[in-house]
């Protein structure tokens, strides 16, 4: 249905935009092992995005590439967190930490979706995201407990990305309708477990939840930050130069 497609678009766009960000790290990471690890996470995110976009597109007669390359900024449905710049490695880790714990809760619930396709994609995704959780949590502990510099950086990293947490857990009319139909759950219902699990790691790392105001968001309604335009300009440039071509 249109609702399910719109919902799949949101999750797909999250993964697509994050994969685009993470892809920039490959060949620039702090060590080769991280080129590989961040590359893996990017590949997983892109893989999930492709599944969800393909499913969303099916409802509108569009392919994953139609959706990725030929929509404009206000037609993207990703939340603001996913388009935040990579910053240094600490910012990337802080962003990934939040993303992975959020996605794990989401996909865990979507495995039981009444929509068989969403359930199937999520069942596969949740296993991969479990690894992402572990990867980012380990780095949060290492950076927080490493050197003075790394501790200062991870604190600053969390400060920068934390304003975009609330948006992930916002309910709206679409999620309300879909939750009613058992396709998904209300995002707000994922928050407690997210808080508990991230809180455990933060506590172990002796980090505090940053006391920064939450941004108003709006990504699910196509209202984005100034970053998305640049991301799309780069991502879409070649495909748009050759409309209709196949690759």
């Amino acid at each position: 249905s249109e609702d399910v497609a719109e919902f799949a678009l949101r999750i797909g766009d999250d993964g697509l935009i994050l994969a685009q960000r993470l892809g920039h790290w490959i060949s620039r990471a702090p060590e080769l092992e991280e080129d590989i690890a961040l590359g893996n996470i990017a590949l997983d995110q892109l893989g999930h995005a492709r599944s969800f976009l393909t499913y969303a597109g099916a409802a509108w007669g569009k392919s994953e590439d139609d959706l990725a390359y030929f929509r404009r900024e206000h037609e993207f449905r990703s939340a603001h967190l996913f388009e935040q710049p990579n910053g240094d490695f600490a910012v990337t880790i802080a962003r990934q930490f939040i993303v992975s714990f959020y996605q794990y809760e989401l996909y865990s619930k979507l495995m039981e979706s009444t929509d068989a396709t969403i359930a199937a994609i999520s069942a596969k995704a949740v296993k991969e995201v479990d690894y992402h959780r572990d990867h980012s949590a380990q780095w949060v502990l290492r950076l927080a407990g490493g050197t003075d510099e790394s501790r200062a950086r991870i604190i600053q990293g969390f400060k920068l990305v934390w304003p975009y947490v609330d948006e992930l857990f916002e309910d709206d009319q679409l999620t309300t309708r879909l939750a009613g139909a058992g396709v998904t759950v209300q995002p707000s219902s994922l928050r407690a477990e997210f808080d508990r699990l991230t809180g455990n790691i933060m506590a172990e790392a002796e980090l505090e939840i940053p006391g920064v105001p939450q941004s108003l968001g709006g990504g699910r309604r196509g209202k984005h930050s100034e970053f998305l335009g640049y991301i799309l300009a780069e991502m879409q440039v070649l495909a748009r130069e050759h409309p209709g071509a196949s690759w």
């Binding site: 697509l16 994969a19 685009q20 892809g23 920039h24 490959i26 060949s27 620039r28 990471a29 702090p30 060590e31 080769l32 092992e33 991280e34 080129d35 590989i36 590359g39 893996n40 990017a42 590949l43 892109l46 893989g47 995005a49 492709r50 976009l53 994953e64 590439d65 990725a68 390359y69 240094d88 490695f89 502990l141 290492r142 950076l143 407990g145 490493g146 050197t147 510099e149 790394s150 950086r153 780069e234 991502m235 440039v237 070649l238 495909a239 050759h242 209709g244 071509a245 196949s246 690759w247």
Partner: protein, 310 residues
Amino acid sequence: AAGQAYFDRIISEDSRIEPRDWMPAAYRKTLLRQISQHAHSEIIGMQPEANWITRAPSLKRKSILMAKVQDEAGHGLYLYSAAETLGQSRDQMMEDLIAGKARYSSIFNYPTISWADMGAIGWLVDGAAICNQVPLCRASYGPYGRAMVRICKEESFHQRQGFEILLELSNGTPAQKQMAQDAVNRWYAPSLMMFGPPDDDSPNSKQSMAWNIKRFSNDELRSRFVGMMVEQVRVLGLTLPDKDIRFNEETKKWEHGPLDWNEFKEVLAGRGPCNSQRVERRREAHENGAWVREAAVAYARKQAQKENAA
């Protein structure tokens, strides 16, 4: 003396030298240079391809490209590990690379200026690499040979992906086909030069062959490669930018036109379009990552202390 005798026997039996075995200093040095150079090539070689990850024109291609560049990081790791068994640390090799003291395959000093370069690199550059590397799977030094086995498997996968990119472009719009032909035109000669200078200008080859590191001469490998490409380019519906290619019925070998060894030397001497950029990017990544590596070490040390105390 016992060591030398054992070494000579192993080589003459075409068997394998392992890290703990005695080996001549020159053998160690030659291998170290070759393996580290090979490792550096994998790492620097990530850059020209990473250059198109964010702009790949379809999600499928983006995914394949990401996986490929990531594989190259993996190859670098295998090879650095193999080099470490000869007594040099990865850190030291990285420092040498950043300081501009270490070599890597000169072909990565050319820019990737179109998407079709992803195809041409896969088809030609990885193709040449495979021709070079398949015989290295039997190299007399065990860790090197075993690393090459793993690498070759993945490389042939990469070559096929490159071929597919070009095939799709060649069957695409006129602009796409031209993009493909242009990329083949630019990468053809550099890929032939990847096999190294002509045999009569390659003084070290003989010793490497005597030690069972190298198995075929540069020209021999180059000729084989040309033969393979001649066949495949027909399937692609493209042409090789070399009107002198011919099969010599007498020698039963493929011959190619003259190569601009002058440019090759210029690029080797650091005058390629991207030399400075490639090393700088590596330097930047390494220096920007220093605090992360230090943090990981510090954390591990603290954890170990805690466990000891407990």
